[in-house]
């Protein structure tokens, strides 16, 4: 574009601006106008300047001003005109000037050109020929230009893949930019370019961005996942890994987006949610609105798979009640039945809502107050699908509120309300009046409201509703009137008391002037009469008369059917009607014709004397009808009713066939059974399954293991720690020092609790982690007590379980009791160093001075004994057989020897989180017994965790016990031995997570409350190393100090033995060839030659099991080198991902031996080769 042209643009703008200004500011006079400002230049933006009309106008302005410019544009104008009319047609010339502008080095020109191009895109015009010119500017410094170039690029990249690739490097550079916004935008654009070739680049970029520091960039990464997935679904597995990683993210910004990605890519992988469930629930309030919707919908599905139906009990209870009622005077059989029911009842009765289920309901409830209708709807459907019946009511108010919103919102909400009212009528009954219809409502809203009103009708409110309906019948909107009449019909069928009233009302409508109203009434009356025809023959007579007037086919057909069906009630009129109909037969609609034939047939059978000829006549007419249905019907009826020689068999039954008693129709709501679709979904609205709809699963029969959702701290520790905090607040003066130590959680907590008015911005949305804790705190503290109660109940109910469980629960309860008790009695002030947590103090305390013990329950004593093993060499109590055994073994660890059986691992000690896990753990032990049998006889290598000197007398070592870690099979069991070599006792030893690598998880051991001087204790914890040899960095805390420690697993400990036969081994090995196979040659030293030594060394280096096949068998195998050298095979699986690790050691009498490792995880393979090599050759 020439500068001249550009100048021409300007006056138009100026006109505009000044014009607008004039409109707004009075007193601005016309004189001020420059000559350029043409008087009629109303609203022309540069956008419209592209239109021919304006251009002409512009031209005149231009030529008035500068000669050259005018000339120039004059030339161009006709072309423009062609463009304006041609729509999508391309104009090479015009585009040429855009190209020129884009090529110039002035940003303003480029910007102008880009704006015009974007405007063309917006109008749906094709500008693809500009691609080369535009793509050049992708690296333009001007952000505004750049942005528009991005718009263009995303639109056309797919069509011009080769050229689009030119821009990729710019984005790749952008991905490394220090500015997070630039990184994010680069990823946004890159992932939006739908070119298959760049899939690997996108994958890489997403992976990188997923671990970006900035939550905004991580959010963008989450957004990019579905884009890549839709471009190349083969990337699914890798993307799931990214999703898993992002799901663990703790910021609210990311949460919504990643769940959206989850729903798009892998909604079936519900297992990914377990660990994040509680976090999501707690973050929910602070997630942005759109994210809330997605998360709530997803959690609804999740809850349906994980929790029990809260209403199941109620159904059973009702049944149970009935059975006792009838059971009183019933025989033995029914008694038994009752017993069974009672049994079922007692089995079900102690339904206690899973605390996680409760958590979800509690945390979503405030969102009913959201201004966003979609959020409110999402919560409403969650409550409808998940909440106990008694609690669902809360959603009604919020939904009724939405009825004030835009009509589209009303439309969707009413659809859902209609479905809800069928199941839970009571919920909306108080809001009946909110569904009253105004004449100004759009018809579709009226009809839906009517539906709701009909569903809400009951004996008590029917009179109000019918009065309301009466006003609706007078409405001008005829469709709506018809719907109202239908609604009255439905009310009449459901509520017997008003049937006659309704019928009378409808009959009155028969004299309405509007034919549609009459017709609709006829249809409805027909249905109603079917219920009790004998009482209403006068109505039938009345309707018979209507045939002269009513023209609506459906109504005519209905009347004819009625007369035919009940012709015995109107014996005189019926033949006459048929006579009239026969006259008009040829002019009737098809449905009416069919009914005339029916009527004729019925009359023929009942009153053949009068109607024989008429029937013949009608059938003859029908025989030559244009419609084949009618011809068929006529032929069929004739054969059936007119006895002939040939087909006498069927005609005997003609009466039975045609005059059979028909069941009355049931008028049902079209919304019945719609609730099998998740409410609020598109599928529900359309009542068909939409693409991508995720079925709402049915409640499970038995709840899956709730412990899968456990993260970090077990529940009871959490409880007590919370109690601790509360106490601390009360006793602030004593413990003010420790307050600071306890970090951000505490301060956030106190802030929210005291609801200090100074709560500043940080409260609303501080950094992610703080916030999550806080919100957890907020919600937890409220209902803590309720929760406790629930837990207690739960425990009681489970008392029938095996003995261990009871004890476990008892001890838990007692600990709670303890806590409660201490709340009442103020403990004596202690020195500040002990104040870390006074929950922990007391047991040690009590063990020190026995006086306090008499106030405590026996259970408590037991517990203390259990927890302080060094001091507890007490005789096993009778009941406690097993438990004591564990305790003994626990003591045995002091002089540690590899245990012969995994059963002896101190299971009970850290499985306190929930009884279910506990039980499962115990049962698991038996099954996992076998692998241990091959564990090496040599002692395990232990590593130092904390040196005696740095630990100030506390010496901590750890070793890998190679036992399966029962609470979580994906964790490596790490056995930790504490030795207190200091002169004073160490208290409250525990581990805290410090900086774990992403994905790593740690299951801490329960706190060691006291470790007296000179004693040692052993505990087991679980670490999920994510199949990497990265160290787990932890904090070891004592009552007075914190030490940073790290546990570094040798690669050999990251696997568990896996049993397989030789054939299986070979088969698996065959699948792990190529990249997954690593072979190393080695020279075995003398003493390592024999089989025993090799096996021992390999097993010492890695936790593998030997594949049971002797070298002798190998010799006899038909492999090409017939007398093959002895081969040793070992197999295992990595702990976290369960990938196979296969090790083969092939020794040769002469020459180097060969070590082969086949493993999917190449890193593990390489490291393992090194380790085993070292073990064998040294």
């Amino acid at each position: 574009m020439t500068p001249m042209q550009k100048l021409l643009q300007l006056p138009v703008n100026a006109v505009n601006m000044v014009k607008t200004v004039q409109n707004q500011v009075q007193g601005f006079q016309e004189e001020d106008k420059s000559p350029v400002l043409s008087p009629d230049g109303a609203h022309q933006a540069w956008y419209s300047a592209l239109q021919p009309d304006e251009l002409r106008h512009l031209r005149s302005g231009g030529s008035g001003g500068g000669g050259g410019g005018g000339h120039n544009s004059e030339e161009r104008a006709p072309l423009e005109e062609g463009g304006g009319g041609g729509g999508g047609q391309t104009q090479p010339l015009r585009h040429d000037d855009l190209k020129e502008m884009l090529d110039s080095n002035k940003d303003s020109l480029k910007l102008e050109a880009m704006k015009r191009i974007v405007a063309m895109i917006a109008r749906g015009k094709n500008t693809s020929d500009l691609f080369p010119a535009v793509v050049k500017n992708v690296a333009c410094k001007n952000i505004e230009v750049k942005k528009l170039v991005y718009v263009y690029l995303v639109r056309y990249a797919e069509e011009q893949q080769d050229l689009a690739l030119l821009s990729i490097s710019t984005f790749q550079r952008g991905l490394k930019d220090p500015n997070q916004l630039i990184r994010a935008s680069a990823l946004r654009v890159l992932s939006s370019i739908r070119v298959t070739i760049i899939v690997p680049i996108m994958m890489l970029a997403i992976k990188e961005a997923a671990s970006d520091m900035s939550p905004y960039v991580r959010k963008t990464a989450a957004h990019a996942i579905p884009k890549l997935y839709s471009l190349d679904p083969e990337q699914k597995d890798q993307l799931i890994e990214v999703i898993e990683k992002l799901l663990a993210d703790k910021t609210t910004l990311v949460a919504g987006s990643v769940v959206m990605a989850f729903e798009e890519v892998c909604p079936e992988r519900i297992d990914l949610i377990h660990k994040n469930y509680r976090k999501l629930c707690n973050l929910l309030v602070d997630v942005e609105e759109w994210g809330q919707v997605v998360i709530i919908n997803m959690l609804t599905r999740y809850a349906r798979t994980q929790f029990l139906n809260p209403n199941l009990n109620e159904c059973l209870l009702e049944e149970g009640g009935e059975s006792t009622f009838y059971g009183s005077d019933a025989d033995q059989d029914e008694d038994e039945d009752e017993d069974k029911k009672d049994e079922a009842l007692s089995k079900r009765k102690p339904y206690v809502m899973d605390p996680d289920h409760r958590l979800l309901l509690r945390n979503t409830k405030p969102l009913l107050q959201s201004r966003n209708a979609a959020v409110v709807m999402a919560v409403a459907q969650l409550y409808f699908h998940l909440a106990p019946k008694a609690e669902v009511g809360v959603i009604a108010k919020a939904l009724v509120r939405l009825l004030r919103s835009h009509s589209e919102v009303q439309y969707v909400v009413l659809q859902n309300v209609a479905t809800m009212t069928i199941k839970r009528r009571g919920m909306f009954e108080p809001y009946l009046k909110s569904f009253y219809i105004r004449s100004t409502d759009p018809t579709q809203i009226k009809v839906l409201k009517l539906e709701v009103l009909t569903n809400l009708a009951s004996e008590t409110n029917i009179s109000t509703i019918l009065r309301e309906f009466q006003t609706y019948i007078k409405s001008m909107d005829k469709d709506f009137v018809a719907a109202t009449i239908q609604a009255i019909g439905r009310c009449a069928t459901h509520i017997g008391e008003v049937r006659d009233t309704c019928l009378n009302g409808l009959v009155q409508l028969l004299s309405n002037r509007d034919e549609l109203v009459v017709a609709e009434s006829v249809v409805v009356i027909k249905k109603l009469l079917q219920m009790q025809p004998e009482k209403h023959s006068d109505i039938i007579k009345h309707m018979a008369k209507l045939t002269d007037n009513i023209q609506v086919p459906m109504a005519r057909a209905s009347i004819l059917w009625l007369i035919g069906e009940y012709c015995e009630h109107v014996p005189k009129i019926a033949p006459d009607v048929l006579r009239k109909m026969a006259k008009t037969f040829t002019n009737e609609e098809d449905i009416v014709k069919l009914q005339i034939i029916n009527l004729a047939a019925k009359l023929y059978l009942t009153n053949s004397k009068q109607t024989k000829l008429l029937t013949q006549y009608v059938l003859n007419l029908a025989k030559y009808d244009q419609n084949y249905d009618i011809r068929d019907r006529a032929r069929f009826i004739r054969q059936l009713i007119v006895p002939t020689d040939k087909c006498g068999a069927l005609s005997k039954y003609a009466k039975k066939l045609i005059l059979a008693l028909k069941p009355a129709p049931i008028l049902e709501s079209p919304f019945k059974d719609r609730d099998h679709f998740q409410l609020g979904s598109l599928s529900h609205l359309l009542n068909t399954k939409a693409g991508g709809y995720q079925e709402l699963p049915d409640w499970p029969q038995d709840a899956p293991d709730p412990s899968v959702r456990n993260v970090e701290v077990p529940e009871w520790t959490k409880c007590s720690s919370r109690e601790k905090r509360k106490e601390k607040k009360v006793e602030k003066p004593f413990y003010s020092d420790s307050e600071g130590e306890s970090g951000p959680t505490e301060s956030a907590d106190s802030e929210s609790d005291s609801a200090s008015s100074s709560a500043s911005g940080s409260e609303q949305s501080g950094s992610g982690s703080e916030e999550s804790e806080e919100s957890e705190e907020r919600s937890d503290s409220d209902e803590e007590e309720e929760e406790e109660e629930e837990e207690a109940k739960k425990r009681k109910t489970q008392k029938k379980e095996p003995i261990e469980a009871v004890q476990q629960s008892e001890s838990e309860q007692s600990s709670e009791e303890e806590v409660k008790k201490r709340k009442v009695s103020i403990p004596p002030p202690r020195n500040v160093s002990e104040s870390e947590s006074d929950d922990d103090d007391s047991p040690s305390d009590s063990s020190q001075d026995s006086e306090s013990e008499d106030s405590e329950s026996e259970a408590e004593v037991k517990k203390k004994k259990k927890i302080t093993p060094p001091k507890a060499p007490t005789k096993p109590v009778k009941k406690e057989g097993k438990k004591e055994k564990k305790e003994m073994s626990l003591l045995d660890f002091d002089d540690f020897e590899p245990t012969p059986s995994p059963q002896v691992t101190p299971v009970g000690n850290f499985l306190s989180s929930s009884l279910v896990t506990d039980l499962e753990g115990l049962s698991l032990t038996d099954t996992v017994l076998s692998p241990a049998t091959i564990s090496p006889s040599g002692s395990l290598k232990s590593y130092e965790l904390l040196h005696r000197i740095t630990g100030e007398g506390l010496w901590v070592e750890y070793c890998f016990s190679r036992q399966p870690f029962l609470p979580d099979p994906h964790m490596v069991a790490v056995q930790i031995q504490f030795t207190n070599s200091a002169a004073t006792e160490a208290k409250s030893l525990r581990l805290e997570e410090a900086k774990l690598q992403s994905g790593m998880r740690v299951k801490e051991f329960p706190e060691i409350e006291v470790l007296p001087a000179g004693e040692s204790a052993t505990v087991v914890m679980g670490v999920d190393f994510c199949d990497s040899t990265q160290a787990a960095n932890l904090q070891l805390c004592t009552h007075s100090r914190k030490f940073f420690v790290s546990i570094q697993p040798p690669v050999g400990e990251l696997m568990t033995p896996s049993f397989m036969t030789e054939n299986e081994f070979k088969k698996e090995q065959g699948q792990l060839m190529g990249m997954n196979e690593i072979t190393e040659k080695m020279q075995l030293p003398e003493r390592c030659q024999n089989e025993h030594a090799i096996v021992q060394r390999v097993i010492a280096a890695a936790n593998l099991s030997r594949v049971p096949c002797g070298s002798d068998k190998e010799c006899s195998s038909p492999a090409p080198p017939p007398p093959g050298p002895p081969v040793h095979r070992f197999a295992g699986r990595t702990v976290t991902s369960g990938s196979l690790v296969l090790v083969t050691v092939a020794t040769k009498e002469s020459g180097p031996s060969q070590l082969t490792i086949n493993c999917e995880k190449m890193v593990i393979g390489t490291m393992l080769v090194k380790d085993i090599l070292l073990a064998l050759t040294q």
Partner: protein, 485 residues
């Protein structure tokens, strides 16, 4: 009433570099003189520091593809597609044919079903300001989610351009495009808070357009926005005002149906608190009511701390900058609703002949001693009514024979002299006596009264040192107020 800082100009594009032409200079002069002439009006709001402040932000970056909402078409009243935006691959305009078909069938634009199913897509549309916003989706998505989002788009346009009409959208097509780009990423809403959007894409204002013209700079600055990363998603950082003020409008609407005899069939009060907060820094406000028990059902702007409401019945929040809806509420149903006016009506059609009579009288009922203003009575006549020849004792009436709507604009209601409208209606020749009855809708306004009796107690500010100017205003309006005949 408070804010007028956004005079919108139909052209957001900004002016190109201006130089050395005689015409242009004249143009400049015109602009400068304009500034001079109108500065007294502009300075309080437009030239206030806040505006200058808000102007350093630049739009960020762009683009993307969609999954949930695939495409958006804007369609005007007569059925022309005047803007299309695709977030993923392009979907042909022909998909809209299904919509047009449904639109043909519907008598009124409001009757077009918001959700339509086509063989390969689902169309979800809203109708606002005589425009259809039609979105195309391909897979399951909560319909309310899409609908709510579309409404948010319209509100954003209104916020940016002052109104949402075809002309305005066409004039600001680039800004519109950028907004859409920023609001949705991959079909999933990204930034919908107006405060954030305004940091990234600046709304067109007269002042800036002029400044841009004068200096030759573009509409956008080189600085990247910080808003997206602000810890409070609804408030931008670094807000500055010289006059710190916070205004709250308590607006209550009476929804009622009154039957023929004058008895109330149903009535309820819905209220909303609109706020205009222009405060420097990060103020933390607490608004309390004298009688919070009146409030039955509430919904809040996300900024309100729900826990505190639950516990103490006070609104505690860090406000967004500028205008926003703080809360909306529903007044407890137990309280009887005062109906401020009554309408005596007598509309009858003659049994024979083509005509009828109309006699309407409006009068005050329970007005709490305040004056009823802006009283407008709208009657939807039966189709057969051709024309009306009436006389009004107060105000004026119009009858539109096309839509069959009679509007009687009364204005202020004088209790001493009740306004009356009477006269005859003429029907289509030969048409039967209309069966159906017209319904009467009433609009009114009462200043300085919240009909529910709700009163704001006090507003406290924490977190900032200065003393803001505070104001509360009460208005009662008729919502969906209908009299049946």
């Amino acid at each position: 009433m408070y804010c007028s800082c956004c005079f919108s100009l139909p052209n957001s594009s900004g002016f190109s570099v201006a130089t050395m032409n005689g015409q242009l200079k004249k143009c400049h002069i015109a602009i400068t003189s304009f500034i001079d002439s109108c500065s007294p009006f502009l300075i309080p709001s437009s030239l206030s520091p806040s505006l200058c402040d808000s102007s350093h932000n630049l739009d960020s970056l762009p683009i993307v593809a969609v999954e949930m909402i695939h495409s958006l078409f804007l369609i005007n009243h007569s059925g022309d597609i005047f803007l299309e935006k695709h977030w993923k691959s392009v979907i042909g305009r022909s998909v809209c044919d299904y919509f047009f078909e449904a639109k043909e069938k519907a008598a009124e634009p409001e009757d077009v079903p918001p959700v339509l199913q086509t063989p390969h897509h689902y169309l979800i549309s809203i109708y606002r300001d005589r425009l259809f916003f039609l979105s195309v989706i391909q897979t399951e998505a909560p319909p309310l989610f899409v609908i709510e989002f579309l409404h948010r788009v319209v509100e954003t346009f209104q916020d940016y351009f002052g109104e949402c009409s075809e002309t305005v959208i066409k004039d600001n097509v680039v800004t519109v495009y950028e907004l859409l780009e920023e609001m949705l990423d991959n079909g999933f809403p990204l930034a919908t808070e107006s405060n954030i959007l305004k940091e990234m894409i600046r709304p067109p204002t007269i002042l800036r357009t002029m400044v841009n013209t004068l200096t030759g700079t573009s509409n956008f600055e080189e600085r990247l926005p910080s808003g997206q990363l602000s810890t409070i998603p609804w408030r931008r950082s670094g807000v500055k005002y010289t006059n710190n003020e916070a205004y709250f409008d308590v607006i209550e609407e009476i929804d009622a149906i009154v039957d023929k005899s004058g008895t109330t069939v149903c009535a309820e009060i819905q209220g909303v608190i609109e706020a205009c907060v222009k405060l420097t820094g990060m103020p933390d406000l607490t608004l309390s009511f004298m009688n919070p028990r009146l409030l039955d059902d509430v919904s809040f702007h996300p900024c309100v701390r729900f826990k505190r409401w639950e516990a103490e019945r006070v609104l505690s929040f860090i406000p967004p900058d500028g205008n926003f809806t703080l809360m909306s509420y529903h007044v407890n149903a137990q309280n009887l609703v005062a109906i401020p006016v009554y309408v005596k009506q007598n509309i009858s059609f003659f049994e024979s002949g083509s005509g009828g009579r109309l006699d309407l009288t409006a009068g005050p009922k329970q007005t709490m001693g305040k004056t009823v203003e802006g009283l407008v009575i709208t009657v939807h006549m039966p189709k057969a009514v051709l024309s009306a020849s009436l006389t009004a004792t107060q105000g004026s009436y119009t009858y539109d024979p096309a839509t069959k709507v009679l509007v009687w604009d009364i204005g202020r209601l004088n209790p001493q002299k009740l306004p009356n409208l009477r006269g005859s209606l003429s029907l289509q020749a030969g048409a039967p006596k209309p069966e159906d009855n017209p319904s009467i809708n009433i609009a009114l306004k009462i200043q300085q009264l919240a009909i529910s009796g709700l009163k704001v107690n006090r507003l406290d500010m924490y977190g900032e040192k200065y003393k803001p100017f505070k104001g509360v205003k009460y208005v009662t309006k008729a919502g969906k107020f209908q009299v049946r005949t």
